[in-house]
Every structure is written in C-alpha cells, then in structure tokens.
Amino acid sequence: MALRWPESISELVNQLSRLPGIGEKTATRLAFFVLDQDAAYADDLAGALVTVKAKIRRCSACGSLGEEELCDICTAPERDRTSMCIVESFADLVAIERTGEFRGLYHVLHGLIRPLDGVGPEALNLPAIAQRVEGLGVREVIVATDPSVEGEATAMYIRNLLDDDVAVTRIARGLPMGGEVEYADRATLGRAISARERLG
C-alpha cells in the first residue's frame, strides 16, 4: 500500500472498470496501454466516445439505434411487415440480423421486466408494441428474450398485450444457459429462430 497512483490514472482505471466484464486488473492494463500511445490516440478515443453518445438515438418506431429518426430496418421496403421480432437489446438485434434467418421488423425493449431491479413493464419499450402490431398488420410476433425466467415472464407479458389472432412464438431452446442471446453463435441462434415455440 506504499505507492499510490496519480489521481488521473486511478480515475481512468475506475471508469474503465465500470465497463461490463472488465475487472480492475484488465482496467489497469488498458489504462497503461492508453498511456503508452501518443496523444492523438487518446483524442480519437475520447472523441469517439463523445460522438457516439451525441449522435446515436433510438428509432422512434422500433427503438433500435441509428443516427436518424427512423432506423435502416424500419425504412427498408423489402422487409416483411407482417412479422416482428422482439428483442431485449440492440446487441441481440445485431446477433439475430447476422444469422440472416429473419426478414421482418424488430422491436427493441431495452431490458426485461425485473421488478427486483426496479424495472417494471412501464419502464420498457413495451406499451408501444400493441399499437405497432395493429398499425402494421403484423401477424406473427417472435419474442427472442433470453431463456431466463425474466425472459419468459417478459414474453408472457407481451403475449397478454396482443390480440389472440396474432401468433406469438418464443425462441428459447439451444441457447447457452444463463445465456444472453448476444453470446450465442450464429448457427445456434439460427436454429433457435427456426425452432421457435408457440406461446399459449
């Protein structure tokens, strides 16, 4: 405990270790990497962080991320407007998009229902779903929430929001346990989408 780091280094380590999956050891390694680079690198990194926060916004229709009012998927004419996939996060949307198995529209919740963490249904992009589905004439809704109990509860909640004549299915099998959708490899996720199950 003899040597204490200069304030600015420990501040950087602190900020970096708030990132998911980054422990104090990794944060320290990253901080010293940045210190070793020339000043331009630090400027670029800081600039990229500020820009992304300033430019990126949620699509006003589906909640996905982009730089315009409406995202690329919502404005693409070739997407199938009768089918909608509901995901927990933008990262999950990207993972599913990469499988190439789904050609419809998305709806991004930005979370799952977790009262334990203070997230009730009203805190999510949930209430808009029913209107969107009706407005677009969506006939099939695929709920791609992860296989946890919270993912299941959110899927059941969505089922209740929609009319009975809308088919609601859920992908659940074949995903890694404890397993956030974004970690699933492409083949697994592709299989999970084709093998979706109907929610009663």
């Binding site: 334990l116 919270e150 909640y157 209740n160 890694p176 346990m177 697994t188």
Partner: protein, 362 residues
Amino acid sequence: MILESLSVTDFRNLSAVSIAPHPRFNVFVGANGQGKTNLLDAVHVLATLRSLRGQKNRELIRHGEKSAFVEGDVRRGASLRRAKVRVAANGKRVWLNGNPVRELNEWFGGINVVSFAPDDVRVLRSSPGDRRLFLDRAIFALQPAYSLVASEYEQVVKQRNSALRAEVVDYALIDIYDRQLAVRGAEVVERRLRFVREISPRLQESFGAIFDEHLGLEMRYECGFAREPEGADLIEALLRALRSSRVRDEARGFTTVGPHRDDFVVSMAGQPMRAYASQGQHRAFVLAFKIAEIAAIEEGLGAAPILLLDDVSSELDPKRNERLFDFLSGFDGQVFITTTDAEFVRISGESQRWQVSEGGVI
C-alpha cells in the same frame, strides 16, 4: 468419481489455488478463518453450481474482483472431463472440455458430492430455512439438475416480491409470476417428496445400525399448500394457494406460500425428534442421513460420490466420530476433510495432508 485436479481463482478468500487431490483422503488442516470451508465450497459449486450455504454469486467472488473461477479434471471410470465454472455477479457460466455448455443436463450428472457441515448436527432444532437448505443440498447431490429449477423458482419469488411492493401493483404481472411459480414450485415439491420417499428405508436402516435397535424413524415432508401432497395436482394446488394469498402477500410485501415456506419433520417412535431426541440421537440422525444419502447415490449412479466433510469431528462425540471413521474406512471414494486439528482425523489409509493458510493451499 475422482477430482484429479482442482484450481480455484478469486473464490472468496482463495486467490489462486491449484492442487492435484489424492484419489482417497485429502485432509485440509488450518487455523480458523484460513479458507478451508471455502475450498470445500468451491468443489460444491463445481458439482452443483450452488454454494454450500446457499449464498449469492456476489458473495462468492473475492472482494475487489469481478468474477471467480473453479476448474477441475473429473474422472469417472475411463472418462476424464475438464469442468469449469465462472461465477459473476449476474450469473454463472460453465464449460466442459473447453466448450461452453448449452444444455445444463449435459453438465449435471458429471460430479456428485455429499457434504457434511458442523451445523448439520443441529438441523432438526434449527429454522425451517436451514432444514430446507439441508434437504435441498442432499437432492442436489443426488440429482444436480434440481439446482436449476430451484434457482429459477427462487428467482421468480424475488421478482414477485418486488412486484408486490411496487407503488402501483401490476396484477397482470403477478398473474404471470403465479404461473411461473406454480410450474416450478410443483417440480420442487415433487422432487423433495420423491427424495424423502427414496431415502426413508435407507435412513431407517442406517439409523438402526448406529443405535443397534430399531426406533421407528420416520421422515415426513410438510407442504404448506397441499395437505396430502403425494399424488395431488401440485401445479393447480399452488396456483390456487398463490391466488388466495395474494391480498395477504401484497399487505406483507412477500410471497407467503410455496415450497420456500415448506418444512420436514423427523419423528422417532412417533414423537418429533426436534422436541424429544437427545443430543446423541440428533448426531446419530445426521450421520445416518448422510450414510443413507451416500448409499442412494452409489446405487443410483453406480459410483461413489465425492465426500466433503467440513470440520465434522468437532461436532461429533467420540463414539459417533469413531462410527464416522469406521464408515469412511469402508468407503472407497474420494474424501475431502477439513479440520483445525489433524488429531481428530483418524485415517489409516492412503491420504494426503494439505495446509491451508490465508487463502493458500500447500
């Protein structure tokens, strides 16, 4: 089955432990607070993905770290598998032979452990919560997949409790939690009932052997939402119970019915042991229970489980301690024993002694 290697990283106070355990007896000696129990807990987590004392993930991770790892080579007959668990605050991840595990059933059935801790001796006089933990631990040992449904059940209880405490209660959401709880809660109770049914004859036998007489030992599961749970439609019964307790649950801010409130009773010659049994009879019960549990695993799996004995000699009287070591000398599996005093451990056979000190093992 045998743990041929074990490495533990940032698990409680164990920062980096790497050992090649002896195939028979491993005696971990060390003063209080050095990490002996933590080491056994690491093995328990590797086997069941659950802490011995039912602790949360966060509590298992060494202070100041973001994740803990437990890894081991497990031999079962001719097959050798490398199992790895990462514990992070938001969940556990598992790998077998380096590959992420997709189906937990693939994982479970790999390692079976039977644990025995000092507090177990008081289980019948302790709280219902301690008894449920005791019972559940035995079921994890026999059917490790039980830990999955039990965790999910507990998780839903927590979500429902929080939802009940919301400013404006969303009853549609409570309905969903009731359905999730009914399905999982029914399975929890079914597995507990099946366990009690299966262990009972062995328990009577091993208790009789310790006392050299038959005292009519009986173990009965008490289900708060179904008076006669055997053969009942438990999903329906739990759903009904949850609905009728909703007003009360909302007033109290937690879920008052379900397997997380159940209990079991052991009686001897028709009298509940909790109130009537002597100190020696309590110790004999626990010892008999553990011996019965081991026998059930040996028969069910065709292989001896790994035994985790935490400081047990300190709680057993000399006579029961002798019984235990008699039993162990006839047991042919791998055993991990912790003790503060190597004098307590009467092992004549092959063994390896390990020194545990400040989170390190040598």
